[in-house]
Subunit: 700 residues, 2 copies
């Protein structure tokens, strides 16, 4: 069987796994009527939100499709549609499983920690493997169609496959930024608003059923942390693997029959790692010490270790032996070289997970230092949290830099691309760890609202605490892979530029001031984007506060449990606010490259326009990497510093230190769940728009 066919078969295994496991999860006990009623309200709210979000995105999408079809042709437009639909589907499926698994996890947690963990993790694993599987199938089947039935060739002058894949990546990215940002604004506006008016003003506990924003808060976990995250990782997978394929085609050019297996090798690597991820999921079990994080690590480690021989086999199959070599420019690259680069990618993934746990876990200096600083008040908590968030960028950057240097030494640019591909190949497992978080978070909420025994809430809390770290891990992993993928995309940009405009000599040297201009403008984008995200959350949370205050005032029976608050009204309000607020920031990375290219071209000519645009692409990663890493790690650390105090340290729940830690947690919320993670798709969109612009200019 050829490489592509095997990849498609392996991708289908993820779908089969998802189907079987979801039957298992949905077959579990869904708890008593009260629990089911609460779960139904969450489900309804989440579905209503996603419906409205997708409707809004569809309007933007139709315009984009029309533009793409008009400027670049039908293949690009078709790619965009497939990427957009499947990215949306990944989010939708993740949410669908999550809103059904939450109540079942609450029910299972009545039987013990292991039962709760198994159910929640399986729900996460369905999302994880469907994200990886759908992403793999999207690229693989589209490539098969273009090179098979549609009769396009790779290499040579037919650029249909490249343009189709670029369109696919654009579709995935554009949906993803809307989903990440819209979902992120929803979840944090509801969370912050509910906390402010519930915990702080009314003095009622978290997840108290009297709080009208409590359902919105739980809906948010599903539409932001689950659906938004799934769309984001789908995008990351498609862009990274797609960019590696495009780069292979561009670098190798017309080498005949050997091109196709080389170009589809990244898909095969993705395919074999789906199998290792599925195997890994069965190893997520509590040991004797009941260490939940340890159980997660066991699963990840099994997947990662099994991936090593699996990738070896994949490379060997595609190249006809790992010793087989091919030539890029003046350089001979062997299958063994590519294999070592994938090891670099796996090592980066492992190290980033380890570093993220250090910065966000309750056992280490960073989180403890924030908890300790809470004793002297709100101000010192925030100062220390900001200090940690700045510091947390250092080690991941050094790891990424070391990865770039080593992979480049081994196999040049393609080596960096393979390191990134190997990182993403484990996406099934990594997303599983992450998607588990919102399920347990919701399970705790349902347990609280349904008045289950305190021991149940204690178990879901224990499961949820780990969720804070795994959520931070995925974000660090996504942005870290973006660091490598951006180099690959930039290489695609420069290679394309030479192909489309062979007569232009574009000077990408740092000695060209327009390169500096591009770098500065690129680095500005994540700041501006972050500002918009933070402001949006603040504004929408304010709306929630006002709505809840009105409900309490108009309906005094709520506080005495006599009447139920109007949950749907708050959900609806947050929905509208999130949809409205997501539009402008999402369009920033789409329009900025176009504005910079035309602006600089007007002033200093087309060559400098292209130079500034290229620099913008790297500026956005140089700026964005730090903004994203600091926000996601800092936010996770703040959250767990609060949990650490709630565990009885530095005065415990209700102490002044706890109040200060709640402030830090509130600040960290939009940092880690709205602005920070949305930087990842933002970087990709900027890069892809630049590639599309190039193609459009060349065609025009």
């Amino acid at each position: 069987m050829n490489t592509l066919t095997i990849a498609i078969v392996l991708g289908l295994m993820a779908i089969v796994y998802g189907f079987i496991t979801s039957r298992h999860v949905l077959g579990a006990d869904a708890g008593n009527t009260k629990m089911q009623a609460i779960a139904a309200a969450i489900q309804e709210g989440a579905e209503a939100y996603l419906r409205r979000q997708y409707t809004t995105i569809a309007i933007v999408g139709v315009i984009v499709v029309a533009i793409l079809a008009g400027t670049l042709g039908l293949v690009s437009a078709a790619g965009f549609v497939i990427g957009a639909l499947l990215s949306g589907a990944a989010g939708f499926i993740g949410m669908t499983i999550s809103v059904r698994a939450n109540v079942r996890t609450a029910s299972a947690a009545q039987d013990g920690l292991q039962a709760g963990l198994t159910l929640a993790f399986r729900a996460g694993a369905i999302t994880g493997l469907l994200v990886a599987g759908l992403a793999l199938l999207a690229i693989a089947v589209f490539t098969w169609y273009l090179t098979g039935p549609a009769g396009h060739s790779v290499g040579g002058t037919d650029r249909s496959v490249i343009e189709g894949l670029t369109g696919l990546a654009f579709g995935a990215s554009l949906i993803s930024i809307f989903a990440r940002l819209g979902g992120g604004i929803f979840t944090k506006a509801a969370d912050v608003g509910a906390d402010l008016v519930g915990k702080v003003e009314a003095g009622i506990p978290e997840d108290d059923p009297r709080n009208p924003a409590v359902i919105a808060d739980n809906v948010g976990d599903n539409v932001g942390d689950c659906a938004g995250m799934a769309a984001d990782l789908f995008e990351t997978y498609v862009v990274t693997v797609g960019a590696t394929m495009i780069l292979t085609a561009l670098l190798l050019g017309d080498i005949g029959a050997r091109l196709m297996p080389l170009m589809t090798l990244p898909l095969l690597i993705g395919g074999v790692c789906i199998v290792t991820s599925i195997i890994g999921t069965f190893f997520v079990r509590l040991g004797r010490s009941n260490n939940i994080m340890g159980a997660m690590y066991k699963g990840f480690l099994v997947s990662a270790l099994l991936s090593i021989p699996a990738i070896w086999l994949a490379i060997s199959h595609a190249l006809g032996g790992v010793a087989s070599t091919f030539t890029i420019g003046a350089r001979d690259v062997s299958g063994l070289d590519l294999f070592f680069c994938t090891l670099v990618g796996l090592a980066i993934t492992g190290l980033i997970i380890w570093i993220t746990e250090y910065y966000t876990g309750t056992n280490y200096r960073p989180v403890k230092s924030i908890a300790r600083a809470s004793v002297t008040g709100h101000g010192t908590n925030v100062i220390q949290g900001l200090a940690i968030s700045l510091e947390a960028t250092a080690l991941p950057t050094l790891v990424i830099v070391a990865g770039i240097v080593i992979a480049y030494q081994i196999a040049g640019l393609l080596g960096i691309a393979y390191a990134a591909t190997a990182m993403l190949a484990l996406a099934g497992m990594v997303v599983a760890l992450d998607a588990y978080g919102p399920v347990t978070d919701n399970a705790g909420g349902i347990a609280e609202m349904a008045g289950l025994d305190d021991s149940v809430r204690a178990r879901t809390d224990a499961l949820d605490a780990v969720g804070n770290t795994t959520k931070a891990v995925t974000k660090g992993y996504a942005i870290g892979s973006a660091g490598l993928a951006a180099l690959v995309l930039f290489a695609a940009y420069t290679t394309d530029l030479k192909a489309f405009f062979p007569d232009l000599t574009v000077d990408f040297s740092l000695e060209n001031p327009y390169v500096i201009v591009g770098l500065l403008l690129g680095a500005l984008l994540p700041y501006l984007f972050g500002a918009m995200g933070m402001t949006a959350v603040g504004r929408a949370a304010g709306d929630v506060v006002r709505d809840v205050r009105e409900q309490f005032k108009a309906n005094p029976g709520i506080m005495t449990f006599e009447t139920k608050p109007d949950y749907a009204r708050t959900v609806d309000l947050v929905t509208k606010a999130a949809i409205k607020e997501m539009i402008v920031p999402s369009l920033l990375p789409v329009l900025a490259p176009i504005a910079v290219y035309f602006g600089i071209t007007l002033v200093a000519g087309q060559e400098n326009g292209f130079a500034a645009l290229g620099a913008l692409l790297l500026g956005v990663i140089v700026g964005g990497l730090f903004v994203a890493l600091s926000m996601t790690s800092g936010g996770g650390a703040w959250d767990n510093a609060k949990k650490y105090i709630e565990d009885g340290n530095f005065g415990g729940k209700g102490s002044e230190a706890h109040k200060a830690a709640v402030t830090g947690d509130t600040v960290g919320d939009p940092y880690k769940d709205t602005a920070g993670p949305a930087v990842n798709p933002m970087i990709k969109i900027t890069n892809i728009v630049a590639l599309l612009l190039l193609a459009a200019l060349a065609g025009g």
Copy 2:
């Protein structure tokens, strides 16, 4: 008279102005005995701190001088010593005036707002003009000595003048980073510590004499906001003007007699702007509306407008007519071109002042939005403050980018250098506006402690509120000029590299992954540096809290006014903490370029080592510009949001909103006064160390 001689004469005018005005300030009434006793305690603490700081720096300095003398020779070492001594002197003089003007301002404020303003502003103007004058004289006299008595020539193969100026810049920068960071840690540790334990725990007002940390807080204003700031701006001036001269020499090469006037033209521009700054100081007067900020603007505007014809005359004199041209590479540049570039610099300065006022003034959306967010609590205050701090980077970046593009279009790299020089030429006036701040801040403290009439405190508070904005302005101005200066320094680096290693082909293109590696590592530096600064303040503030608690416990008479607290003990404690904490972060930018060069050279060869080092220089500005702008603007906005609430908005003093605003102010303190402003000298040091490393490698 030749250009250099005129520049020296004009530089001396600043010294004369400082001498005359200081006699006037010191001749003013110093208030009653109680006020004088408080002022004496502040003075003593500030002098003790600076003595210890300079002793510590001297140890580092001696080591550096030995290394410089050994590797690069005596001229470099002598330049370093001059730069270091005068940078220290600038800080020392600023502090000396400030600690004497504070009590006199408090006394003058008894007679009315105008009297207080006049005295405080004159004190600031002394510091401002001495900073500009000493910086100008340092370069001018050293250049005169090297080209005159020492018999070195400019152009050709004698690199003594270039190496001397680089050494001078290094000396100024190294002192400056220590002073900015040490002073910044001192002032904010004392401020935050005093607030936490005084306002929050003991419930006594700010500047209450019972607070043992109150003198340390006032000392901090002088050693951080005054001495540290003066050393920083001295450094910025020396590096910018020096870099323009070095670039001129490197670009023009051996053009004979015309080189010297062209090379010293930046000094003449500095000289004439000292005169216009002196004239401007006389226009700082309240109008009928009693608008203090308006009075400041009047002074600045007069200076800026008078500078336009003054710079025209300077260029005309140096070139023998503005129409006169010279050739750089293939390009003809005229005096008129240079003149337009200086206008760009003046416009950037004006726009940055205007933008900073928008983001930190109490009349505009940003500060009001933070104040409004305080109503819903500590968390929303901090979220909105962070959103504003991120947003505040956008307009200054666009202004700087526009400045780069326009100046480069007019006169190439030298045009950018002239824009930066024109920005710095107004340093006398800008520093005057800034140095006025700590004087009024202290005056308010003395009025409070000495129990003067409430109307006096009201007047000093009004003067101080403007100080928050002017302080933010100077920092935005310094970092903005650093953005331009970094390009000039990078150009010096690449030109030097070609001269020293003509056989190497170093690829600075973004397509070289080692360039990306350098950019990422460079962008990391400000984050790591910021983390260290923030942590240091948190740790030292904790020490203050513990010390004050102990004093209250051991000596209950303090709270009943029966016994006086041991102010000196707290001052001593903060002194030791600040000195200890400043060392490691200050060495980061010194060692990072060396580590990156040798690290990458080891792995990927010398050519990539130089490429990564060059990229590091730009990475540190691309990353640092945003970190610094966001921290300084955000901090200023938080501070004034608190003041806005204290003025009676959103509930006023003592309300819940006010408490939240105090938290925001506390967070903003190390942002705006420790970590943020120290990024500016950090960027410069990284660049200068790279230049020195090049010279050392070439010589070795």
